[in-house]
Every structure is written in C-alpha cells, then in structure tokens.
Symmetry: D2
Subunit: 344 residues, 4 copies
C-alpha cells in the first residue's frame, strides 16, 4: 500500500522536481500540495508555471493547491516533503512537526541544529535516530529530517569513500549551475559570457554541513568531523549539474587506482532511489562533464574523475545533478529511509 505524501512549497523549482520524482514513485502517492496564499485555491496546473523537462503529471495537474498551514493539510498524510524558502521553512516546518507530521525537508533552515538529523542515506543513515533525541527534547510527535545543500551532497559521498584513508583537510572549488539558485535566481544579464565568483552563504554550508554529515553519532549527539574544509563557490552558465574540483589531504598515501577503486565500491543504499553504483568513476580525465553526465543513475549518481596524486593526498573532480541528487531526489531518498526505518 502506498504511503500518502504531501509537498510543501509545490510550485517552486524544487517543488516541481519533487512532483516529477514522486508521481511515478512506487512507494508514495501524492495526496496534497501546498504553496503560498497567492497560489492557494488554484489548480496546480494554473498555480505552477510548469517548467520541468517532462510533462506535468496528469494526476496532480487538477489538484487544488492548499495554503502551507497544518490546518489546511489532511490528517491522513504520512509524510511531507518540504521545499519551502528557508525563511518560511524556519517558521512553518516546526508547526507541522508539532502537529505530528513527519517532514523530509530540503530547506536550509535548521540543518545545523543539534537535534535535527542531516542525512544522505548512503553516507550516514544512522544519524536518522537523532529523531529520538529531537522528540525527547522538543516533545514532538512528528519528525524533522534534512538533506544537505546541493554543493555539499555532490562532494560528500566521495569523501565518505575516502574516510578510511584518514581525511585531514579539504579545499574545494565549485562550478555550479544556475538552476541551483531557483528559476529566477540568476538573470541572463549576470551570467551570459560571465562567471560569478561568490554564492552567498554557500561556502559556509559546504564547510559546516560536510563535517556534520561525516561526523560520528553515538545515540545522543553527532560529533562533527575534524577535517579542515575550505570552499570557494562559483556560478557558471550551465543549466544543471554542479562540478567540483576537490583536493583532499590524507593520512595515508593511496594510489589514484586505489582511490578510484574505493569510490567504485562504495555501497549504495537498499532504497528505491539509490543508484548502483552510487559513484561512477571515469578513466577519461575529460569527464565528468555537466551536460554529459548529470543524468547518470537517473540524476541520483555522483560522477568522479581526473583522480591524481598530490604531495599530501589526492585531487579529483566530482559532479552531481543539483536539483535531483542535490535537492528533490535527496529529500525523496530521505523519505524512503524514514519509511524503511519505521518512522512512518
């Protein structure tokens, strides 16, 4: 039997991707859609200017959009996916959880809260049990789970694969697609024949979120990883797919072949949306490329390549689809984990 799910913030760019992924999903059934008061009361077809690259799913096109308010959402919804603007999410998500809903959220608010699990199911599924701490501390019936920022997700699975070599330090430079800023986030006048060398708050997210994701959970709290991480984030004129140049200083001294091998063997999760292999490693140093490789594993794989030794470790490139693996797909995958682990 399908799990009845809802989407909070269903009309935005990530909201549309959520619906694209949820409509054909074998475990979930879309039962409610919410948006801002200006969209509430209209059909989804009408409220969302549908811009994803597949047709609007007929089963949701005529759904009436509800306001993003716990009182407007049916009680029999088992799971809510949230792609609200973070300023809205910070206010509204706690209200839904307090009202008993389980929320898998892509919004950036609360990601670094000590009692909120920030999870990538293939990397740190055990952190999900922070929900117990969260319920204890906040007296909530529901649960709030977060996935990390798109640029963080692109890099962290490859780092998790390297953990056994002892990670000391990371420098990472990103070449991020415009879709990461939302549909209207980057104007054409800004980006044609240009590059933007700074993305507000992005470097800090990569630095703090990565340490939490790679941290150890002892049942009570997450001890963040001690690696020294420094990120420099750039916006480039590509539509989808974040490419990242990563330097990792390691305790050990593995060969590029050993690094490639351990990445290729890094296990995927036993969940519907987790691709196998999780990390696709290219021999050709000219790959991965955003347009060629962003749809690997249905947009859920991470691609890596150009692995070379440095004096203190290794340098390589990685890439993931920023609105699938990096946002909507990440939330769906966390939803699958919540179901698997019995939180729904």
């Amino acid at each position: 039997m399908s799990t009845r799910v809802g989407v909070l913030g269903a009309t935005g760019a990530v909201g549309q991707r959520l619906i694209q992924l949820l409509a054909p999903h074998p475990e979930f059934e879309i039962a409610t859609l919410t948006a801002s008061p200006t969209s509430a009361g209209r059909s989804y077809r009408d409220a969302a200017k549908w811009r994803v690259d597949t047709p609007i799913p007929e089963e949701v096109a005529d759904t009436t959009v509800a306001e993003t308010d716990p009182d407007e959402v049916p009680n029999d919804i088992d799971l809510l996916f949230s792609s609200l603007p973070s300023s809205v999410g910070a206010d509204v998500e706690p209200e839904f959880v307090e009202a008993g809903y389980v929320v898998s959220s892509n919004s950036s608010n609360s990601r670094m809260d000590e009692d909120v699990p920030l999870t990538i199911p293939e990397v740190n599924p055990d952190h999900l049990d922070l929900i117990e701490v969260q319920r204890d501390e906040r007296g909530w019936d529901g649960a709030l789970v977060k996935n990390p920022n798109c640029s963080t997700i692109t890099m962290v699975p490859t780092l998790a694969a390297l953990e056994g070599f002892g990670i000391n330090r990371i420098n990472v430079s990103t070449l991020q697609a415009v879709s990461g800023a939302g549909y209207s986030g980057v104007t054409s006048m800004e980006i044609l024949d240009n590059v933007l060398p700074n993305i507000g708050g992005e470097a800090q997210k990569m630095e703090t979120e990565s340490r939490k994701l790679l941290g150890a959970f002892d049942g009570a709290e997450v001890t963040h990883h001690s690696a020294d991480i420094s990120a420099s984030c750039n916006r480039v004129p590509t539509l989808d797919g974040h490419l990242e140049n990563v330097w990792v200083d390691l305790e050990d001294d593995p060969s590029p072949e050993a690094v490639a091998g351990i990445m290729r063997e890094y296990p995927s999760a036993d969940l519907y949306s987790s691709p196998d292999p999780l990390i696709e490693v290219f021999e050709d140093p000219e790959r991965p490329q955003p347009r060629m490789d962003r749809m690997l594993g249905g947009g859920m794989a991470v691609a890596a390549g150009g692995i070379e030794k440095t004096t203190d470790g290794v340098q390589y490139n990685c890439l993931a689809h920023n609105t699938i693996r990096g946002a909507a797909g990440a939330s769906v995958l966390n939803g699958e984990l919540l179901l698997e682990e019995g939180y729904i």
Copy 2:
C-alpha cells in the same frame, strides 16, 4: 624613433591581438608580418579573417604576408613577436635567433629551458639577463624571451605580492575562457550548457612555470621556487577572461586587509603597457567577474577579490584578460622590457 618590429604567426588569434596592440603603440612600428605558406603572398586583410573587436588597422591591412622564414624577413627588423603554434615555434624560433633576431615569444615551447628567460616585467625583470647565459651557451647573436601561459600569468603577480609572507603551498582552480584555446579550439557543442574539467597540459604549465617565475636568478641560473603547487583547470562558456580560485598556505599569518594592502601596493613596471595599479583589489566579494573586469587597465591589469583567511593562509580569487595580459600583451610588455634594458 620607433623600433621596427615584426609578428611571426600574425594571422592567428594571438597574432591579431598583437597587431591590435602594436598598431597604436608609441614605441613600435609594425614592419613585417609572417604566417604559414598558405597565407604568404596574400594581403594581411585577405589572409587573416580579422575577428578582434576593433577594426583591422589600416596600416597593416594591405601588407603582404611573408612566409615564416628568416630569409623572408627584412634585416632591419629590431624585434620579432612570436605567436606561432608551439610545434612550429620549437623549430623556427631558434632559426630566427641564430640569424640574429631578438624574439619575444608567447609560444609554449622552450619556456622551461634553463637558459631561456621566462619573464613578467613586473615580477622578475632581472631574469631577462639569462640572455647573456643563452648567448654564451648557444653562440647566438639574437635573443629568445618567453612569457608564461595565460593561466599562469593570471595568478603569479598576486603570488609575487605575497612572497614576503612565505609561500609554502598553492592549490588553484581555474575557470578559463574559450579564447584561450584559439579561435577554433573549443566547439560550441562541447561548451554550451557545459564545463570541460580538464585542459591538456595546462595544470602542469601552471605548476612548473610559476616556480620558475618566482625563482631566484643569481646571474648564472634560476633556482625555482620551492612552493608545492597543484592546479585543476576548467574551461567554461565565457569568451575572454580567466578567473582563478587560489589557496595559498603561508609562513606568516596576515589578515585579509594586510593581503589586500600588499597586493594594491605591488608596483607596476615603468613600461608603457604596465598598468597602475597592477593589481586591482575589490572589496565586493562578488568581484572580479570575467565580463565586468577583464578590461581593467586596458586588459593588462590583474583583478583580485574575495580575500579570506584559511587555517594555513589565505584564499582569494584573481582574474586577467587571457589574450591581452595573458598572451599578446605579455609579449608586447616583454618587448618593452627588452628595449628598456638595451637588448635591442
């Protein structure tokens, strides 16, 4: 009185930039143009499909293009600028120097030869005297001087400014414009909605050339700088202007303000094409951007910004116009230095 100059490889992308810069130059007078046998004998207007963003200079449009051969070039030429393909340059440049010509070359061949000066006039003008060693060893009357690769030039002036703080290690990620590959080097199918994460040989050039440029010359040989340098080079869909994300590990622990100050004060050279300031430092972390800032100082300045402390040093971005400061303008500036230092 003007110095009579020639351009070897005058029809290519860098050759056209050379002519654009030399035509109005107060110290140089274009006296001969050479190209491959298929262009030789034709008017320059006809042989070069002029593509630079200012009109073809009338004074060279009707010049008959000569073959790139010392026997085809007049004897009274004082200085030759070379933008030959490196495979051609490797064969032909020594013939010109043996025949007594002074050559300022942008071609990548011979840059790392021990007796060939690789110079940026604001950074290591003293290396020019390697010409004496070169003449002794090779028995040449002329001289061969090189400027570094475009991606190297973009970064090295900022590193030279930081030298006093003690440079231990550099990681650098580049976002390079398509013009760096020549007019036909990158197809539109490769780069639209895409990024190419590898540029053949580019990372190695940045690593080796930078160490030579920052090295010490004792009158006999250049001792390369000991810094550990690792580069990752990317091609992005911009026309002109290379942006670079740089991490520098330093002995000292300067504040971002101190780093900005020392970059701003780094002296320009007392030469016609050297801009003042040499390094333009932005406070706004969203700058420099390729399209906005590549023409600073007539395309000869280096722009820097986004300076931040890291655990071991500093992180910042820098940018320069790759076919002006990074290629044609660099050769012209070396020509000015050769004149100033009495080698012509």
Copy 3:
C-alpha cells in the same frame, strides 16, 4: 523477423543519432557500420567519440567498423542508412545502389535529382514510387531515397496541413541550433553572445526542397509546387531544435482557430517512428521553445504556436528537433516506409 541494416558514416553526429535510434528499434537490426579509412578496422567504441546523450548501445560498441565501400559490406544487408558528408555521398551512394543496396540517405547530394524520391512519410509517401522511374532510368537494382534538410522538415508538415487553403507565398526566418552544423561545425568563439545571420546554402535548400516535397507526383515525374518561397537562415546559441517564424500567404482566409485545428488533425503515418499527433499546436504564444519542446513525440513531432492572421494569410512559429526529426529520425522513418511499401 528483423530487417538487417547498416549505417554508412556511422561515427559522425548524425551517424551516432542513427545508432541511438536503430539500436532499440523493433524492426531493424544493426548489422554493419562503415566510416572513413582512418576509422575502418577499429571498434565502434574506439572510432566514434560517442557524444549522444544516452550511453553507447552495447550491441554495437565492439563492432568493427568497415570502410565505406560496397565490397566491405555483407550481401545480406537489406537496408543502408547514409549520413555521409555530401561530397562523399555523391560519389559513394550510387556505387552502393548499383551494387543492389537500398539506401535511405540524409546526405544533401542528389536530393533535387528528378528521379530521386525526396520524402517525408507523413507528407508525400506516394513520391516513393519514383524508385520505379529511378530503376528504369539508371538500370539499378537497389534504390536511393532522400529525406530533406533539417530546416525544411521543420516547416513542411505545417505547410502540408495548410495546403487546402491554397498556398501562394512563404517567407520564413529560421533560428537554428548549432548541432545542425555537425559536432565541430560552429566554434564557441563564433556563437557565444552572438548570432550568425547566414548559413551557406541553407536558404536555397529550404526553397527548392519544399517545392519538391509539396509537389504532385503523377507516376512519372514530380511537378514542383508553385509557391514563392523566401528563407532567411540564422544560427543561434542553442544545442538542438530549430525554431522558425513562418509567414504564409493563402488563397483562403482561415481564422487562427481553423489553422490550429487543421494542423492538429493532420494525420501521422502508420509507421513505428511517426508520432501521434504529428503536429502539436500550443495555445500559449510563448511556445514552442527549443529546450522545452524539442523532445515532443520522442523528438519526431513538429510543434507549432503563435498563430495569427496577417493581411494575406497567417503567421506562426514551428519547431522540430533538428538531428532527430530533421536528420537521423527522418532517415529511419523513410526506412520504415520502404519496408512498409515492399521495397525491401
């Protein structure tokens, strides 16, 4: 039982699209691949630098590429698809047909030959019987069938739909994607932040091919349509999908609704690759758009929109995927027609 087919010129951009379409095709089985002598003898994986947006089909990856020569192709091949450069095709295609092969060709040579059928199966399938004339005149056992140029195919189905209103005159302006020029046809320096207002020979192809396609075949010859056609062809910075602004002067005076209706009802062919509907008509005047709509009908549909009355007829926009409907898919569809009509 599958028809055994081959691809002449299998490594090029259209050749790769042909293989992408033929590999999963229920009626055809790829049995041989040919290319130039430099590729012959190598595996297809090795000879073709595969650049299409789906993985290289495993069943052809290890096929050894043959030289494009009738003596190198097995006798039991029933049908050859040709995407040879037109200068090569002009020489080699007749040799294959003379040797008894049936060839469905996308190459531009011979399209306007009086005894060569130029067909779009939904528009003028009856022209296929020109094969009888061709065989009579040339003494051939095989047959040579052509599909038109990509920019012609985009427009002609909509014109065919309007035929009943009496077409007097057509002005058409095209906004063509870079893939139409082949993988290396348009450099990034030419097209970034730019438009090229002329595509060599393209306007003439649209004018002459359209009149032949819309002409009447009486069993002996094709009388070209009398419409006055003038095209202006532009290259724009899009990857795939040609958009065209069309003005059609008509005898009758139909409303925009009548024009939309007759386009929507225009029948598809009863062939595997013919989409239903053939022509997708948008109400939203902002559609069709290349990136949003080029994959309609698996890339085989034609999209139309923005229909408005003019003083003398109608103005509208149309769009098709130039390397699927406009090239490889067009050849495959002609192959299906050849099979259906018993020529194979």
Copy 4:
C-alpha cells in the same frame, strides 16, 4: 555653455546607459538624477548597482538621488531624459511637462499619441514640430518627445532609405538580445540553450511605430505610412544587439547593389551623436553579427547586409545596439535635436 540636464529613472539599465553617454557629452551637463522613493536620498553610487561596461562616472557617483517628482527637481534644468518604467512614465511625465520641463523619453507610454512626436533625428526630424500642436492642445509650456522601441529603431532607418522605391509590405523577424528586457527581465533558466518566440507587445510596437515614423507630417498631424507590416519577435541568448531579417515588398525593382548604395548614402544628421555613415552595409553575407558589429559608430550606427532580391522586392538583415541606438542613445540624440531646433 552646457545645457543642464536630468535623468528620470537613473538607476535602471537604460538610465545607466544614459549616464554613460551623457557624462562625456560636450553639450550636456548632468545636474540631477531621480529614481523611485526607495533610492531617493542615497548617493547614486549606492542606489544604482552600476553594471555598464565602463566605470561609473566620478562626477555623478556622489550625487544624491532625488525622488521622481517635479517638486524635487531644480527649476534651472533645461532638459530631462526619461527612462522610467512605462506605467510610471504615463503618470509622471505629463506632470513634468506641465511644470514646464522639456522631456526626451524612451518610455513606451504615449508614443502613439497623436500630438506626441515620435522621432529618429535622421529619419523624421520634421515631426518634432508636433510640439506646437501638443502645446496648443494641452496648454503645456514644456514638451514631450519620444523615441521608438529598440526593435523599431533597428529597422526604420533602412526602410527610410528604401522609401523612394515605394514600400508596400514588410515582414520582419527579430533576434533580440536579453538586455532589451532590462537587467532582470530574462532569467538564465529561460534563455540558456533556448529561444523565446514571443515578446509581449513587441510585434505591435514595431508595426504601429514604424508607420508613424515613416508617416508624413503636414504641420498639423502625422499621416501614418500605409505599408502592411507584420513582425515576429524572438529573444535569443545574446547580451546586446538586435538582429532583424527583413522582407520588403517594393513598387520598384531595384538591384541589391542599388539597395546597398541607397542605404550607404542615406544621410546622417548634423548632430553630435549621429554617426557617419548612419547605415554601414556589409558585402560579406555573414555580417552583421551582434557581437562583432553592435558597437559600430559608437553603438549608434545601423548595420545591414545579406541583401538579396525576392520576387516582390528585397530581403536583408539589419542590426543595431539595442540599449545605445535603440534606447539611451536615441533619447540623447532627440535631446540634441531639441537643442538644435531651439526647443530648449
């Protein structure tokens, strides 16, 4: 002595271009800048996020921005340039004129009003005397003059040159740059790897404004030109420069050479910003191109090329810089005409 001028709506994209053109202008001195209430009271440097490709003029950087209100503008201003949003302009421009100011406006409101001159100084300078009618009818001391829309201006000078051949009908397809929609008008997600086949209201502006511009003024009213005009307007991924494919049906039957000749000889105006030649005609059919040719005549020339005969007239391409000749420069040129004609 300089004429003291002001700019209404000084912080927008066209406002910035106005200031870029006015700062070095020999006849005008910038004396006041206005903007919306949120910008009023701040320095211009602070209120305008300066994005034009030359540095912000120092003489205006520290000017305090006033509110766009006749009471906030000094009385000794002789001329106001307006680049207000048309909805604001419709309300506010009449207030300024009623208060006695002469306004040269780029805003689209009122362009088709019978007593408002719509002028291109090289094309219909005599229409300026509609000001007398305007003053009579409205009882105004000041004056309101408009320049046409950017896509109209690009085409009309070439049509004016052809007037002697008798213009019956015009079909025109535009390929317009993103800057025409203002800094935030086109998002990167809309336009990368795409074309937008419809620009709201643009086709109608081209059709109606062109007929007024080419119309005859008898001292009392303008009789619009009778030509049948149909436009189809597209947005393409270029930054600046509108390219247009034009078909003109003519009474006469001139050769392409005659058409080129009459365009080349079409006179410029004896005003500071009018370039000579006004129309640059290329022999090379691959020109004009937006990136290569938009800055001809300092961005004030019109380029034409690809001239060919059609059955009923002629087909050609034309191009102009949409924010210089097509907007800010057009207003400045009308200001020069107002000064020359004694209206200031």
